[in-house]
Symmetry: C2
DNA sequence: AAGTAATGAGAGCAGTGCTCTCTCATTCAG
DNA sequence: CTGAATGAGAGAGCACTGCTCTCATTACTT
């Protein structure tokens, strides 16, 4: 069963990626194998960052690896597999940076944490536009990310965001403002109840839906900037624009400005 | 100058696309040429809708056209050129649907118009995910849309949105709510002043920035849904979720709910 | 040390974008 | 109405892609 071996090798590599070295020494062969897969992922990441996802070529990676193209198929099932690896890799890097940025702000400063999360997403996206595009842009042609391997890393940002909002609510510092707090329809309420149960949340429906909006809106703003939807010179003060957006979004989500009483 | 001829042919075709028939009869040869380009665009649109932008192949289009691959290069400079044509085509279709949806609501019902715009965008995007992805997803590998040909059609939605918001403001029915109305920093104020001048708007800075946020947020929500970021079953009541988002976004932009006094 | 399993090379298939040349039909000018 | 200019299509070809298959070698395991 060659597939099983390949799977095992990849698992080992993902471990190696996230935990610096292979957790278990294993056999020397498996270590060498994990190293090669790690090299492939590294080279793939470089190509991805340089030329974009659709231009990612296994043959080019093979050339950089100093090996004939068919050899890489010993380590990576196909191009999709490599894309999946790079997807996980990118999700984790983004997740790490977001976690670090959020963690650097005092836990009780919910608004500060929210802003830190947003800025971390934007800064990573601007620094790694091609990899950001792989995660949040149009799905690659015919490529569908295997949910069982990507949902974990892929949900880290929204989980961090949910954590902030739920923490704020439990601390009594989350409340909707504005003229409207639209009624939550029955079907949506069901979805939100499932989410609340899954993550053990206390946030009520309207605020949870607002949090979802803040989430999509954050990525909407970042995507427009990264994908060039703002045009070349319509907005020059993009950092200020984003800061304004973040402040409004915090308000949308129900977070009070730092120091403000609810 | 073969390029000039090609350009002329394409212009003729774009006319034909938007105005049903060629405005001027011209020579029979030019009519045949325009027809062929229109066929290529039509086939390209089908392939695009079916297999996505990155899988769009000039050779496949040529096959469907019943012609050898090199022949299509008589009509389309290269693959990018075809993508640009399809981009314009899609922008215009979206623009048409948005305009129609907005126009179907009384001019004074600003909130209704805003909601109609949002729903039109979402419905078109869900109906044409590949074409939506071409417009608002990750830029195609190495492809950069030529601004001089795409900015016109590409700005129709935001212009429609701006029209609604400015109309509401002039009617005295636009005002920010929420605990925060963040100060607009100097650089951003400059950008907004330019926009205000360019489109002859009356909307003040904070509201204009909020309108921008409503715009990016609208597309953020649609993109997340179209690109599968919500996961397969996290949200099942997506229409209700979107309606909730739209209502909150209208509030963010400063629009009063229908019937509500400001 | 012998046997086995992983590895890499190489050839090959089908597809891609794109260029070039050649032929043929259409169109236009004189 | 004839001859030249022009446009269109075919076909070959180049360089590239993903991917499969076979074959020899290498490295590890028992």
């Amino acid at each position: 069963m060659p597939e099983d071996r390949i799977e095992a090798g990849i698992e080992a590599d993902v471990d190696a990626l996230s935990a610096a070295a292979a957790s278990r020494p294993r056999t020397p062969r498996e270590r060498a194998r994990a190293q090669t897969v790690a090299d492939i992922v590294r080279l793939g990441r470089e190509h991805l960052a340089l030329h974009g996802a659709a231009a990612l070529s296994l043959r080019a990676v093979a050339r950089d690896l100093g090996v004939v193209s068919s050899a890489v198929y010993r380590y990576v099932e196909n191009r999709e597999e490599l894309l999946t690896l790079l997807l996980i890799d990118a999700y984790n890097e983004l997740g790490d940076e977001v976690d670090a940025a959020v963690g650097a702000v005092p836990e009780a400063d919910f608004d500060g944490r929210f802003a830190a999360l947003g800025r971390a997403v934007r800064e990573w996206a601007l620094r790694e536009p091609s990899r950001y595009a792989l995660l949040f842009g149009s799905p690659v042609p015919g490529y569908r990310a295997p949910a069982e391997r990507t949902t974990g890393p892929g949900t880290r940002v929204i989980i961090a965001l949910i954590g902030i909002l739920d923490g704020a609510f439990r601390a009594g510092r989350l409340a909707a403002t504005g003229r409207r707090s639209p009624a939550v329809a029955a079907g949506l309420a069901g979805d939100l109840a499932k989410i609340r149960a899954e993550f053990g949340l206390a946030v009520p429906d309207d605020l949870l839906a607002r949090g979802t909006l803040a989430w999509t809106s954050l990525f909407g703003a970042v995507s427009f900037e990264v994908f060039g939807q703002y045009g070349p010179d319509t907005f020059t003060a993009r950092e200020e624009l984003f800061a304004h957006h973040l402040a409004v979004l915090a308000d949308v989500a129900g977070l009070p400005a730092a120091g403000a009483a609810v």
